[in-house]
Protein backbone atom coordinates (compact mmCIF):
# COMPACT_ATOMS: atom_id res chain seq x y z
CA UNK A 1 0.00 0.00 0.00
CA UNK A 2 1.18 3.55 -0.70
CA UNK A 3 2.38 5.75 2.16
CA UNK A 4 -0.57 7.24 3.99
CA UNK A 5 -1.42 10.93 3.60
CA UNK A 6 -2.00 11.32 7.30
CA UNK A 7 -0.25 9.31 9.97
CA UNK A 8 -1.00 9.42 13.67
CA UNK A 9 1.42 7.60 15.92
CA UNK A 10 0.66 7.06 19.62
CA UNK A 11 -1.17 10.39 19.82
CA UNK A 12 -2.20 11.17 23.37
CA UNK A 13 -4.21 14.13 24.64
CA UNK A 14 -4.93 14.73 28.32
CA UNK A 15 -7.36 17.05 30.03
CA UNK A 16 -6.10 17.18 33.57
CA UNK A 17 -5.84 13.60 34.73
CA UNK A 18 -8.25 12.29 32.11
CA UNK A 19 -6.89 10.90 28.86
CA UNK A 20 -9.21 11.99 26.08
CA UNK A 21 -7.01 10.19 23.56
CA UNK A 22 -4.57 7.50 24.51
CA UNK A 23 -1.92 6.29 22.10
CA UNK A 24 -4.03 6.63 19.00
CA UNK A 25 -2.53 5.16 15.82
CA UNK A 26 -4.35 5.96 12.62
CA UNK A 27 -3.57 6.17 8.91
CA UNK A 28 -5.51 7.89 6.20
CA UNK A 29 -4.83 7.28 2.54
CA UNK A 30 -5.46 9.49 -0.49
CA UNK A 31 -9.09 9.53 -1.55
CA UNK A 32 -10.24 7.55 1.43
CA UNK A 33 -13.24 8.15 3.67
CA UNK A 34 -12.44 7.10 7.21
CA UNK A 35 -15.30 7.23 9.67
CA UNK A 36 -14.43 7.45 13.34
CA UNK A 37 -17.29 5.85 15.18
CA UNK A 38 -17.75 6.02 18.89
CA UNK A 39 -20.17 6.92 21.65
CA UNK A 40 -20.46 10.43 23.09
CA UNK A 41 -17.36 11.35 25.07
CA UNK A 42 -15.14 8.82 23.32
CA UNK A 43 -12.68 11.52 22.23
CA UNK A 44 -13.83 11.84 18.62
CA UNK A 45 -13.96 15.63 18.59
CA UNK A 46 -10.63 15.85 20.40
CA UNK A 47 -9.13 13.65 17.71
CA UNK A 48 -10.27 16.04 14.97
CA UNK A 49 -9.12 19.08 16.90
CA UNK A 50 -5.68 17.56 17.30
CA UNK A 51 -5.52 16.68 13.61
CA UNK A 52 -6.48 20.15 12.46
CA UNK A 53 -4.19 21.84 14.94
CA UNK A 54 -6.64 23.53 17.28
CA UNK A 55 -5.13 21.46 20.05
CA UNK A 56 -1.64 20.09 20.46
CA UNK A 57 -1.18 16.46 21.46
CA UNK A 58 0.49 15.73 24.79
CA UNK A 59 2.33 12.81 23.29
CA UNK A 60 2.90 11.03 19.99
CA UNK A 61 3.28 12.51 16.53
CA UNK A 62 1.26 13.49 13.49
CA UNK A 63 2.44 13.73 9.92
CA UNK A 64 0.57 15.07 6.91
CA UNK A 65 1.99 14.22 3.51
CA UNK A 66 5.20 13.11 5.18
CA UNK A 67 5.66 16.41 7.03
CA UNK A 68 5.71 16.34 10.82
CA UNK A 69 2.94 18.56 12.14
CA UNK A 70 4.49 19.49 15.49
CA UNK A 71 4.33 23.28 15.80
CA UNK A 72 2.35 23.71 12.57
CA UNK A 73 -0.71 25.92 13.13
CA UNK A 74 -4.21 25.18 11.83
CA UNK A 75 -3.91 27.77 9.06
CA UNK A 76 -0.81 26.11 7.58
CA UNK A 77 -2.14 22.58 7.65
CA UNK A 78 -4.56 23.25 4.81
CA UNK A 79 -7.32 21.10 6.22
CA UNK A 80 -11.01 22.01 6.32
CA UNK A 81 -13.04 21.37 9.42
CA UNK A 82 -16.83 21.31 9.50
CA UNK A 83 -18.10 21.81 13.03
CA UNK A 84 -21.09 20.17 14.57
CA UNK A 85 -22.71 23.55 15.18
CA UNK A 86 -22.05 25.07 11.76
CA UNK A 87 -19.97 28.10 12.82
CA UNK A 88 -20.82 30.50 10.02
CA UNK A 89 -20.13 34.23 10.13
CA UNK A 90 -23.61 35.33 11.12
CA UNK A 91 -23.77 38.79 9.58
CA UNK A 92 -22.34 37.77 6.25
CA UNK A 93 -24.29 36.50 3.30
CA UNK A 94 -23.93 32.90 2.26
CA UNK A 95 -21.80 34.03 -0.68
CA UNK A 96 -19.35 35.89 1.54
CA UNK A 97 -19.20 32.96 3.90
CA UNK A 98 -18.28 30.70 1.01
CA UNK A 99 -15.79 33.17 -0.43
CA UNK A 100 -14.05 33.72 2.85
CA UNK A 101 -11.77 30.67 2.93
CA UNK A 102 -10.64 31.59 -0.60
CA UNK A 103 -9.89 35.21 0.25
CA UNK A 104 -8.42 34.68 3.69
CA UNK A 105 -5.05 33.20 2.67
CA UNK A 106 -4.16 36.24 0.58
CA UNK A 107 -4.54 38.41 3.66
CA UNK A 108 -2.20 36.25 5.64
CA UNK A 109 0.42 36.15 2.92
CA UNK A 110 -0.78 33.22 0.85
CA UNK A 111 -1.58 33.01 -2.82
CA UNK A 112 -4.42 35.23 -3.99
CA UNK A 113 -7.05 33.73 -6.27
CA UNK A 114 -8.45 35.61 -9.23
CA UNK A 115 -11.95 37.06 -8.74
CA UNK A 116 -13.31 34.94 -11.58
CA UNK A 117 -11.84 31.83 -9.99
CA UNK A 118 -13.42 32.69 -6.64
CA UNK A 119 -16.81 33.30 -8.22
CA UNK A 120 -16.62 30.11 -10.22
CA UNK A 121 -15.66 27.98 -7.24
CA UNK A 122 -18.36 29.46 -5.02
CA UNK A 123 -20.98 28.92 -7.66
CA UNK A 124 -19.88 25.36 -8.28
CA UNK A 125 -20.00 24.57 -4.57
CA UNK A 126 -23.40 26.23 -4.26
CA UNK A 127 -24.73 24.24 -7.19
CA UNK A 128 -23.37 21.01 -5.77
CA UNK A 129 -25.02 21.64 -2.44
CA UNK A 130 -28.12 23.16 -4.02
CA UNK A 131 -27.88 26.44 -2.14
CA UNK A 132 -27.69 28.81 -5.13
CA UNK A 133 -30.97 30.43 -4.10
CA UNK A 134 -29.53 31.28 -0.69
CA UNK A 135 -26.34 32.96 -1.86
CA UNK A 136 -27.44 36.49 -1.03
CA UNK A 137 -29.12 35.71 2.26
CA UNK A 138 -27.40 36.49 5.56
CA UNK A 139 -26.21 33.36 7.31
CA UNK A 140 -28.19 34.10 10.44
CA UNK A 141 -31.41 33.78 8.49
CA UNK A 142 -30.86 30.19 7.40
CA UNK A 143 -32.44 27.06 8.78
CA UNK A 144 -30.28 24.39 10.38
CA UNK A 145 -30.11 22.26 7.25
CA UNK A 146 -29.23 25.24 5.10
CA UNK A 147 -26.53 26.35 7.52
CA UNK A 148 -25.00 22.92 7.48
CA UNK A 149 -24.91 22.90 3.70
CA UNK A 150 -23.18 26.26 3.74
CA UNK A 151 -20.72 25.00 6.35
CA UNK A 152 -19.91 22.03 4.12
CA UNK A 153 -19.73 24.39 1.16
CA UNK A 154 -17.20 26.48 3.00
CA UNK A 155 -15.05 23.38 3.35
CA UNK A 156 -15.32 22.21 -0.25
CA UNK A 157 -14.64 25.53 -2.03
CA UNK A 158 -11.13 25.36 -0.74
CA UNK A 159 -10.02 22.02 -2.11
CA UNK A 160 -8.11 21.29 1.08
CA UNK A 161 -5.81 18.31 1.45
CA UNK A 162 -8.13 16.81 3.98
CA UNK A 163 -11.73 17.16 5.12
CA UNK A 164 -12.47 16.82 8.80
CA UNK A 165 -16.13 16.60 9.72
CA UNK A 166 -17.34 16.61 13.28
CA UNK A 167 -20.82 15.06 13.35
CA UNK A 168 -21.92 17.59 10.74
CA UNK A 169 -25.35 16.07 10.41
CA UNK A 170 -26.25 15.43 14.02
CA UNK A 171 -28.18 18.67 14.50
CA UNK A 172 -30.50 17.92 11.60
CA UNK A 173 -33.72 15.98 11.51
CA UNK A 174 -33.63 12.33 10.51
CA UNK A 175 -34.88 12.70 6.95
CA UNK A 176 -32.53 15.49 6.04
CA UNK A 177 -29.69 13.62 7.72
CA UNK A 178 -30.16 10.58 5.55
CA UNK A 179 -30.43 12.62 2.38
CA UNK A 180 -27.38 14.73 3.18
CA UNK A 181 -25.16 11.84 4.18
CA UNK A 182 -25.59 10.24 0.78
CA UNK A 183 -24.96 13.55 -0.96
CA UNK A 184 -21.92 14.18 1.16
CA UNK A 185 -20.37 10.78 0.50
CA UNK A 186 -20.93 11.10 -3.24
CA UNK A 187 -19.59 14.66 -3.24
CA UNK A 188 -16.44 13.89 -1.29
CA UNK A 189 -15.70 10.87 -3.46
CA UNK A 190 -16.11 12.93 -6.61
CA UNK A 191 -13.71 15.55 -5.24
CA UNK A 192 -11.17 12.86 -4.41
CA UNK A 193 -10.20 14.62 -1.18
CA UNK A 194 -9.77 12.24 1.75
CA UNK A 195 -12.04 12.74 4.71
CA UNK A 196 -12.15 11.85 8.34
CA UNK A 197 -15.77 11.85 9.40
CA UNK A 198 -16.65 11.60 13.05
CA UNK A 199 -20.01 10.28 14.16
CA UNK A 200 -21.81 8.31 16.80
CA UNK A 201 -24.38 7.23 14.20
CA UNK A 202 -23.59 3.73 12.96
CA UNK A 203 -25.90 4.24 9.98
CA UNK A 204 -23.72 7.10 8.78
CA UNK A 205 -20.60 5.06 9.42
CA UNK A 206 -21.81 2.04 7.48
CA UNK A 207 -23.14 4.03 4.55
CA UNK A 208 -20.18 6.36 4.02
CA UNK A 209 -17.01 4.69 5.18
CA UNK A 210 -14.26 3.00 3.23
CA UNK A 211 -12.89 2.14 6.63
CA UNK A 212 -14.26 2.57 10.10
CA UNK A 213 -12.17 3.27 13.18
CA UNK A 214 -14.01 2.43 16.37
CA UNK A 215 -13.00 4.81 19.15
CA UNK A 216 -14.12 4.14 22.72
CA UNK A 217 -12.72 5.83 25.83
CA UNK A 218 -9.99 7.54 23.84
CA UNK A 219 -8.62 4.31 22.43
CA UNK A 220 -8.87 3.03 18.89
CA UNK A 221 -10.46 -0.39 19.36
CA UNK A 222 -10.43 -1.60 15.78
CA UNK A 223 -9.91 -0.27 12.28
CA UNK A 224 -11.33 -2.03 9.27
CA UNK A 225 -13.84 -1.99 6.45
CA UNK A 226 -17.47 -1.78 7.54
CA UNK A 227 -17.81 -5.47 6.66
CA UNK A 228 -14.80 -6.54 8.69
CA UNK A 229 -15.95 -4.63 11.70
CA UNK A 230 -19.50 -5.85 11.41
CA UNK A 231 -18.61 -9.48 10.82
CA UNK A 232 -15.41 -9.83 12.87
CA UNK A 233 -15.48 -7.31 15.71
CA UNK A 234 -12.36 -7.70 17.83
CA UNK A 235 -14.19 -7.34 21.12
CA UNK A 236 -17.74 -7.25 22.50
CA UNK A 237 -17.24 -3.50 22.96
CA UNK A 238 -16.71 -3.01 19.23
CA UNK A 239 -19.49 -5.46 18.40
CA UNK A 240 -21.91 -3.29 20.37
CA UNK A 241 -21.01 -0.13 18.41
CA UNK A 242 -22.30 -1.50 15.13
CA UNK A 243 -25.54 -3.24 14.28
CA UNK A 244 -29.17 -2.46 14.82
CA UNK A 245 -30.55 -4.27 16.80
CA UNK A 246 -27.56 -4.71 19.07
CA UNK A 247 -25.58 -7.92 18.86
CA UNK A 248 -26.61 -10.66 21.31
CA UNK A 249 -23.82 -11.34 23.80
CA UNK A 250 -23.55 -14.50 25.87
CA UNK A 251 -21.22 -15.38 28.71
CA UNK A 252 -20.68 -19.01 27.72
CA UNK A 253 -18.38 -21.97 28.25
CA UNK A 254 -17.07 -24.70 26.02
CA UNK A 255 -17.77 -28.21 27.23
CA UNK A 256 -17.17 -31.28 25.14
CA UNK A 257 -16.95 -29.19 21.96
CA UNK A 258 -20.31 -27.55 22.60
CA UNK A 259 -21.05 -23.99 23.70
CA UNK A 260 -23.22 -23.79 26.78
CA UNK A 261 -24.77 -20.63 28.15
CA UNK A 262 -24.36 -19.67 31.80
CA UNK A 263 -27.79 -21.17 32.41
CA UNK A 264 -26.69 -24.41 30.80
CA UNK A 265 -28.57 -24.00 27.54
CA UNK A 266 -26.81 -25.60 24.61
CA UNK A 267 -26.11 -22.78 22.14
CA UNK A 268 -24.19 -24.41 19.31
CA UNK A 269 -21.42 -26.83 18.53
CA UNK A 270 -17.86 -25.58 18.99
CA UNK A 271 -15.62 -28.09 17.31
CA UNK A 272 -11.95 -27.80 18.12
CA UNK A 273 -12.34 -25.38 21.02
CA UNK A 274 -10.61 -26.05 24.30
CA UNK A 275 -12.97 -26.27 27.24
CA UNK A 276 -13.31 -23.13 29.35
CA UNK A 277 -15.18 -19.84 29.59
CA UNK A 278 -15.69 -17.75 26.44
CA UNK A 279 -17.84 -14.91 25.25
CA UNK A 280 -20.11 -15.35 22.29
CA UNK A 281 -21.59 -12.70 20.04
CA UNK A 282 -24.43 -13.50 17.69
CA UNK A 283 -26.12 -10.90 15.50
CA UNK A 284 -29.90 -10.94 15.45
CA UNK A 285 -29.97 -12.12 11.85
CA UNK A 286 -27.72 -15.06 12.70
CA UNK A 287 -30.24 -16.68 15.00
CA UNK A 288 -32.60 -19.04 13.18
CA UNK A 289 -36.03 -20.03 14.37
CA UNK A 290 -36.35 -23.83 14.54
CA UNK A 291 -38.82 -26.24 16.08
CA UNK A 292 -38.92 -25.83 19.85
CA UNK A 293 -36.83 -28.38 21.72
CA UNK A 294 -36.06 -28.70 25.42
CA UNK A 295 -34.25 -25.29 25.47
CA UNK A 296 -37.06 -23.35 23.86
CA UNK A 297 -37.23 -19.54 23.85
CA UNK A 298 -40.33 -17.53 24.76
CA UNK A 299 -41.37 -14.62 22.54
CA UNK A 300 -41.73 -11.42 24.60
CA UNK A 301 -42.34 -8.88 21.88
CA UNK A 302 -42.78 -8.81 18.11
CA UNK A 303 -41.70 -5.64 16.31
CA UNK A 304 -42.61 -5.16 12.67
CA UNK A 305 -39.53 -3.65 11.01
CA UNK A 306 -40.64 -3.19 7.42
CA UNK A 307 -39.21 -6.00 5.30
CA UNK A 308 -38.42 -8.06 8.39
CA UNK A 309 -39.69 -8.60 11.86
CA UNK A 310 -37.75 -8.40 15.07
CA UNK A 311 -38.48 -10.86 17.85
CA UNK A 312 -37.50 -10.05 21.37
CA UNK A 313 -37.33 -13.38 23.17
CA UNK A 314 -36.17 -14.88 26.44
CA UNK A 315 -33.57 -17.56 25.80
CA UNK A 316 -30.67 -19.15 27.63
CA UNK A 317 -31.37 -17.06 30.70
CA UNK A 318 -31.32 -13.68 28.99
CA UNK A 319 -33.07 -11.46 26.50
CA UNK A 320 -32.15 -11.94 22.84
CA UNK A 321 -33.05 -10.22 19.57
CA UNK A 322 -33.88 -12.30 16.55
CA UNK A 323 -34.37 -10.90 13.06
CA UNK A 324 -36.61 -13.10 10.92
CA UNK A 325 -38.41 -12.67 7.61
CA UNK A 326 -42.07 -11.81 7.46
CA UNK A 327 -43.30 -15.15 6.19
CA UNK A 328 -44.35 -16.46 9.58
CA UNK A 329 -46.49 -14.77 12.20
CA UNK A 330 -45.34 -14.87 15.83
CA UNK A 331 -47.26 -14.21 19.00
CA UNK A 332 -46.20 -12.98 22.39
CA UNK A 333 -45.77 -15.96 24.74
CA UNK A 334 -45.14 -18.36 21.89
CA UNK A 335 -42.43 -21.00 22.45
CA UNK A 336 -39.90 -21.19 19.67
CA UNK A 337 -36.63 -23.00 19.16
CA UNK A 338 -33.51 -20.92 18.34
CA UNK A 339 -30.34 -22.05 16.61
CA UNK A 340 -27.07 -20.11 16.28
CA UNK A 341 -25.49 -20.03 12.82
CA UNK A 342 -22.18 -21.09 14.26
CA UNK A 343 -20.03 -20.04 11.30
CA UNK A 344 -21.33 -16.46 11.69
CA UNK A 345 -21.06 -16.24 15.46
CA UNK A 346 -18.03 -14.55 17.00
CA UNK A 347 -16.11 -16.02 19.93
CA UNK A 348 -13.88 -13.99 22.24
CA UNK A 349 -11.81 -15.26 25.13
CA UNK A 350 -13.44 -14.53 28.45
CA UNK A 351 -11.77 -11.65 30.32
Amino acid sequence: MSTPLLELRAVTRRYGAREALSRVDLDLHEGEILVVLGPTGAGKTTLLRVICGLEAPDGGSLALGGRDLAGVGPAERDVALVFQNFSLYPDWTVRRNLEFPLRAPARTGGRALAESEIRERVERAAATLRIEALLDRPARRLSGGEMQRVAIGRAIVRKPRLFLMDEPLSNLDAKLREALRVELAVLVRSLGVPMIYVTHDQGEALSMADRIAVLVDGRIQQVGTPREIYDRPCSPLVACQLGQPRINLFEARVEAERLLSGAGTSLCPAPGHAPGPVRLGVRAEHLRVVDPGPDAAVVELVEQAGPEQLLVAHWAGQRVHVLVDRSREFHVGERIGLAVEEDRAVLWPSP
Binding site: R49, Y89, D91, R154
Partner: protein, 288 residues
Protein backbone atom coordinates in the same frame (compact mmCIF):
# COMPACT_ATOMS: atom_id res chain seq x y z
CA UNK B 1 -64.24 38.17 44.46
CA UNK B 2 -64.31 38.12 40.70
CA UNK B 3 -61.08 37.71 38.78
CA UNK B 4 -61.37 41.20 37.38
CA UNK B 5 -61.68 42.85 40.76
CA UNK B 6 -58.87 40.74 42.13
CA UNK B 7 -56.66 41.97 39.31
CA UNK B 8 -57.24 45.53 40.44
CA UNK B 9 -56.27 44.65 43.98
CA UNK B 10 -52.96 43.35 42.72
CA UNK B 11 -52.22 46.16 40.32
CA UNK B 12 -53.86 48.92 42.37
CA UNK B 13 -51.15 49.76 44.92
CA UNK B 14 -48.40 49.96 42.34
CA UNK B 15 -50.64 51.96 40.05
CA UNK B 16 -51.57 54.38 42.84
CA UNK B 17 -47.92 54.96 43.71
CA UNK B 18 -47.08 55.45 40.07
CA UNK B 19 -49.81 58.05 39.66
CA UNK B 20 -48.91 59.77 42.92
CA UNK B 21 -45.16 59.99 42.35
CA UNK B 22 -44.77 59.96 38.58
CA UNK B 23 -47.87 60.89 36.65
CA UNK B 24 -49.20 63.59 38.92
CA UNK B 25 -45.89 65.46 39.33
CA UNK B 26 -45.35 65.26 35.61
CA UNK B 27 -48.73 66.77 34.81
CA UNK B 28 -48.36 69.28 37.63
CA UNK B 29 -45.00 70.25 36.18
CA UNK B 30 -46.56 70.84 32.78
CA UNK B 31 -49.31 73.00 34.36
CA UNK B 32 -46.75 74.96 36.37
CA UNK B 33 -44.73 75.74 33.29
CA UNK B 34 -47.62 77.86 31.98
CA UNK B 35 -47.84 79.96 35.16
CA UNK B 36 -45.63 82.50 36.88
CA UNK B 37 -45.22 80.44 40.07
CA UNK B 38 -42.21 81.08 42.28
CA UNK B 39 -40.65 78.67 44.75
CA UNK B 40 -41.67 80.90 47.65
CA UNK B 41 -45.15 82.43 47.73
CA UNK B 42 -48.57 81.11 46.86
CA UNK B 43 -49.57 83.47 44.06
CA UNK B 44 -49.63 82.04 40.61
CA UNK B 45 -51.27 83.19 37.41
CA UNK B 46 -51.61 81.68 34.01
CA UNK B 47 -49.08 83.33 31.71
CA UNK B 48 -49.41 81.20 28.59
CA UNK B 49 -46.21 80.36 26.74
CA UNK B 50 -44.21 83.19 28.30
CA UNK B 51 -41.85 80.83 30.14
CA UNK B 52 -41.16 78.86 26.98
CA UNK B 53 -40.50 82.02 25.07
CA UNK B 54 -37.97 82.97 27.75
CA UNK B 55 -36.31 79.60 27.67
CA UNK B 56 -35.87 79.64 23.92
CA UNK B 57 -34.43 83.12 23.92
CA UNK B 58 -32.07 82.25 26.77
CA UNK B 59 -28.53 81.63 25.49
CA UNK B 60 -27.79 79.85 28.75
CA UNK B 61 -30.24 77.07 27.88
CA UNK B 62 -28.80 76.61 24.41
CA UNK B 63 -25.34 76.57 25.92
CA UNK B 64 -26.37 73.94 28.49
CA UNK B 65 -27.84 71.76 25.75
CA UNK B 66 -24.68 71.99 23.72
CA UNK B 67 -22.50 71.23 26.71
CA UNK B 68 -24.67 68.31 27.82
CA UNK B 69 -24.67 66.88 24.31
CA UNK B 70 -20.90 67.19 24.15
CA UNK B 71 -20.62 65.57 27.55
CA UNK B 72 -22.84 62.65 26.56
CA UNK B 73 -21.07 62.10 23.27
CA UNK B 74 -17.58 62.31 24.72
CA UNK B 75 -18.22 60.42 27.94
CA UNK B 76 -20.12 57.55 26.34
CA UNK B 77 -17.74 57.08 23.43
CA UNK B 78 -14.62 57.21 25.60
CA UNK B 79 -16.17 54.84 28.13
CA UNK B 80 -17.26 52.47 25.36
CA UNK B 81 -13.86 52.45 23.71
CA UNK B 82 -11.97 52.04 26.97
CA UNK B 83 -14.40 49.52 28.44
CA UNK B 84 -14.43 47.36 25.31
CA UNK B 85 -10.66 47.45 25.04
CA UNK B 86 -10.32 46.51 28.69
CA UNK B 87 -12.80 43.67 28.22
CA UNK B 88 -10.89 42.38 25.19
CA UNK B 89 -7.65 42.40 27.13
CA UNK B 90 -8.97 40.56 30.16
CA UNK B 91 -11.32 38.09 28.48
CA UNK B 92 -8.82 35.26 28.75
CA UNK B 93 -8.59 33.43 32.04
CA UNK B 94 -5.57 34.35 34.12
CA UNK B 95 -4.48 34.29 37.73
CA UNK B 96 -6.06 37.02 39.81
CA UNK B 97 -8.74 37.83 37.24
CA UNK B 98 -11.51 37.76 39.85
CA UNK B 99 -9.56 40.15 42.06
CA UNK B 100 -8.86 42.51 39.18
CA UNK B 101 -12.50 42.47 38.09
CA UNK B 102 -13.66 43.32 41.60
CA UNK B 103 -11.17 46.16 41.82
CA UNK B 104 -12.27 47.51 38.44
CA UNK B 105 -15.89 47.46 39.50
CA UNK B 106 -15.42 49.52 42.65
CA UNK B 107 -15.85 52.96 41.02
CA UNK B 108 -19.24 51.94 39.69
CA UNK B 109 -20.43 50.88 43.11
CA UNK B 110 -19.51 54.11 44.89
CA UNK B 111 -21.88 57.00 45.39
CA UNK B 112 -21.23 59.85 42.92
CA UNK B 113 -21.12 62.28 45.85
CA UNK B 114 -18.27 60.31 47.43
CA UNK B 115 -16.51 60.07 44.11
CA UNK B 116 -16.89 63.81 43.59
CA UNK B 117 -15.41 64.47 47.01
CA UNK B 118 -12.35 62.34 46.66
CA UNK B 119 -11.67 63.47 43.12
CA UNK B 120 -11.82 66.97 44.59
CA UNK B 121 -8.92 65.92 46.76
CA UNK B 122 -7.05 64.30 43.91
CA UNK B 123 -7.53 67.19 41.50
CA UNK B 124 -7.10 70.05 43.95
CA UNK B 125 -4.78 72.59 42.31
CA UNK B 126 -2.69 73.26 45.41
CA UNK B 127 -2.41 70.06 47.40
CA UNK B 128 -4.00 67.46 45.09
CA UNK B 129 -1.95 64.34 44.53
CA UNK B 130 -2.26 64.55 40.75
CA UNK B 131 -0.55 67.91 40.59
CA UNK B 132 2.10 66.77 43.06
CA UNK B 133 2.92 63.93 40.71
CA UNK B 134 2.84 66.17 37.66
CA UNK B 135 5.04 68.67 39.47
CA UNK B 136 7.53 65.99 40.44
CA UNK B 137 7.73 64.98 36.79
CA UNK B 138 8.31 68.56 35.80
CA UNK B 139 5.01 68.83 33.95
CA UNK B 140 2.59 71.78 34.06
CA UNK B 141 0.11 71.69 36.94
CA UNK B 142 -3.28 72.96 35.71
CA UNK B 143 -5.94 74.11 38.14
CA UNK B 144 -8.20 71.20 37.29
CA UNK B 145 -11.34 72.31 39.08
CA UNK B 146 -11.03 76.07 38.95
CA UNK B 147 -9.46 76.83 35.58
CA UNK B 148 -12.21 77.51 33.07
CA UNK B 149 -10.44 75.49 30.36
CA UNK B 150 -10.01 72.39 32.53
CA UNK B 151 -13.21 72.07 34.58
CA UNK B 152 -15.26 70.37 31.88
CA UNK B 153 -12.44 67.95 31.12
CA UNK B 154 -12.12 67.17 34.82
CA UNK B 155 -15.78 66.28 35.19
CA UNK B 156 -15.53 64.20 32.03
CA UNK B 157 -12.48 62.43 33.39
CA UNK B 158 -14.27 61.55 36.62
CA UNK B 159 -17.31 60.25 34.75
CA UNK B 160 -15.06 58.11 32.54
CA UNK B 161 -13.29 56.75 35.60
CA UNK B 162 -16.62 55.96 37.19
CA UNK B 163 -18.44 54.34 34.28
CA UNK B 164 -15.78 52.63 32.17
CA UNK B 165 -16.08 49.51 34.38
CA UNK B 166 -19.76 49.34 33.51
CA UNK B 167 -18.99 49.31 29.81
CA UNK B 168 -16.28 46.75 30.44
CA UNK B 169 -18.64 44.49 32.32
CA UNK B 170 -21.27 44.54 29.59
CA UNK B 171 -18.61 44.08 26.91
CA UNK B 172 -17.23 41.12 28.80
CA UNK B 173 -20.69 39.55 28.94
CA UNK B 174 -21.04 40.10 25.20
CA UNK B 175 -17.62 38.62 24.47
CA UNK B 176 -18.27 35.59 26.65
CA UNK B 177 -21.49 34.85 24.80
CA UNK B 178 -19.66 34.35 21.47
CA UNK B 179 -19.25 30.63 20.80
CA UNK B 180 -15.60 29.58 20.75
CA UNK B 181 -16.15 27.44 17.67
CA UNK B 182 -16.65 30.58 15.55
CA UNK B 183 -13.12 31.62 16.40
CA UNK B 184 -11.81 28.14 15.76
CA UNK B 185 -13.54 27.98 12.39
CA UNK B 186 -11.93 31.28 11.49
CA UNK B 187 -8.57 29.94 12.55
CA UNK B 188 -8.92 26.89 10.31
CA UNK B 189 -10.12 29.19 7.51
CA UNK B 190 -6.92 31.19 7.91
CA UNK B 191 -8.63 34.43 8.87
CA UNK B 192 -6.56 37.40 10.00
CA UNK B 193 -6.97 38.78 13.51
CA UNK B 194 -8.57 41.93 12.14
CA UNK B 195 -11.14 39.97 10.13
CA UNK B 196 -12.00 37.90 13.17
CA UNK B 197 -12.52 41.06 15.21
CA UNK B 198 -14.45 42.87 12.50
CA UNK B 199 -16.60 39.93 11.43
CA UNK B 200 -17.16 37.91 14.58
CA UNK B 201 -16.35 39.82 17.74
CA UNK B 202 -17.84 43.18 16.87
CA UNK B 203 -21.12 42.16 15.20
CA UNK B 204 -21.92 39.60 17.87
CA UNK B 205 -21.25 42.07 20.66
CA UNK B 206 -23.03 44.97 18.98
CA UNK B 207 -26.56 44.50 20.36
CA UNK B 208 -25.33 44.32 23.94
CA UNK B 209 -22.97 47.27 23.44
CA UNK B 210 -25.88 49.23 21.98
CA UNK B 211 -27.89 48.59 25.10
CA UNK B 212 -24.99 49.71 27.30
CA UNK B 213 -24.64 52.90 25.26
CA UNK B 214 -28.36 53.60 25.61
CA UNK B 215 -28.26 53.17 29.38
CA UNK B 216 -25.15 55.29 29.74
CA UNK B 217 -26.39 57.98 27.35
CA UNK B 218 -29.71 58.49 29.10
CA UNK B 219 -27.87 58.57 32.41
CA UNK B 220 -25.22 61.00 31.18
CA UNK B 221 -27.93 63.27 29.79
CA UNK B 222 -29.02 63.78 33.38
CA UNK B 223 -25.49 64.51 34.62
CA UNK B 224 -25.90 66.30 37.92
CA UNK B 225 -24.17 64.78 40.92
CA UNK B 226 -20.58 64.88 39.66
CA UNK B 227 -20.93 68.55 38.67
CA UNK B 228 -22.52 69.37 42.01
CA UNK B 229 -19.76 67.60 43.91
CA UNK B 230 -16.88 69.21 42.00
CA UNK B 231 -17.56 72.66 40.57
CA UNK B 232 -21.08 73.14 41.93
CA UNK B 233 -24.02 74.54 39.95
CA UNK B 234 -24.07 77.93 38.26
CA UNK B 235 -20.62 77.41 36.77
CA UNK B 236 -20.37 78.59 33.20
CA UNK B 237 -17.93 75.88 32.12
CA UNK B 238 -19.70 72.86 33.53
CA UNK B 239 -23.38 73.79 33.57
CA UNK B 240 -25.44 70.84 32.30
CA UNK B 241 -29.18 70.79 31.78
CA UNK B 242 -29.76 69.28 35.19
CA UNK B 243 -27.60 71.72 37.11
CA UNK B 244 -29.13 74.61 35.18
CA UNK B 245 -32.54 73.37 36.24
CA UNK B 246 -31.40 73.14 39.83
CA UNK B 247 -30.00 76.67 39.68
CA UNK B 248 -33.17 78.13 38.19
CA UNK B 249 -35.59 76.45 40.57
CA UNK B 250 -33.79 76.10 43.87
CA UNK B 251 -31.30 78.97 43.80
CA UNK B 252 -33.20 81.57 41.77
CA UNK B 253 -36.59 80.33 43.01
CA UNK B 254 -38.13 80.52 39.53
CA UNK B 255 -40.35 77.47 39.80
CA UNK B 256 -42.43 78.01 36.66
CA UNK B 257 -39.46 78.81 34.47
CA UNK B 258 -37.72 75.71 35.79
CA UNK B 259 -40.79 73.65 34.97
CA UNK B 260 -40.62 74.82 31.41
CA UNK B 261 -36.94 73.84 31.29
CA UNK B 262 -37.80 70.45 32.74
CA UNK B 263 -40.55 69.82 30.18
CA UNK B 264 -38.16 70.56 27.35
CA UNK B 265 -35.44 68.36 28.81
CA UNK B 266 -37.97 65.56 29.17
CA UNK B 267 -38.99 65.84 25.53
CA UNK B 268 -35.34 65.80 24.55
CA UNK B 269 -34.50 62.72 26.60
CA UNK B 270 -37.54 60.84 25.32
CA UNK B 271 -36.62 61.73 21.73
CA UNK B 272 -33.06 60.50 22.12
CA UNK B 273 -34.08 57.33 23.94
CA UNK B 274 -36.78 56.48 21.41
CA UNK B 275 -34.48 56.95 18.46
CA UNK B 276 -31.96 54.73 20.14
CA UNK B 277 -34.33 51.94 21.12
CA UNK B 278 -35.63 51.89 17.55
CA UNK B 279 -32.10 51.40 16.36
CA UNK B 280 -31.47 48.68 18.91
CA UNK B 281 -34.64 46.84 18.00
CA UNK B 282 -33.47 46.93 14.43
CA UNK B 283 -30.24 45.26 15.50
CA UNK B 284 -32.01 42.60 17.51
CA UNK B 285 -34.70 41.87 14.99
CA UNK B 286 -32.20 40.08 12.78
CA UNK B 287 -32.89 36.53 13.85
CA UNK B 288 -29.94 34.73 15.36
Amino acid sequence: MSGRRLQWWFVGPALALLVLFNVFPLLFNVVLSFTNAELVGAEREFVGGANYARVFSDPRFAEAIRRTAAFVALAVSIELALGFTLALSIRREFRGKALLLTALLVPMMLSPAVIGLFWNLILNGNYGILNQILGALGLPEPQWLTDRDWKFTSVLLIDVWMWTPFMMLISLAGLNSIPATLYEAAQVDRASAWTVFRRITLPLCAPLLGLAVLLRATDALKQFDLVMATTGPNDKSTETLSTLLYQVVFRDGKLALGSAYACLVLVLVIAVATAFTRYLEGLNRRPA
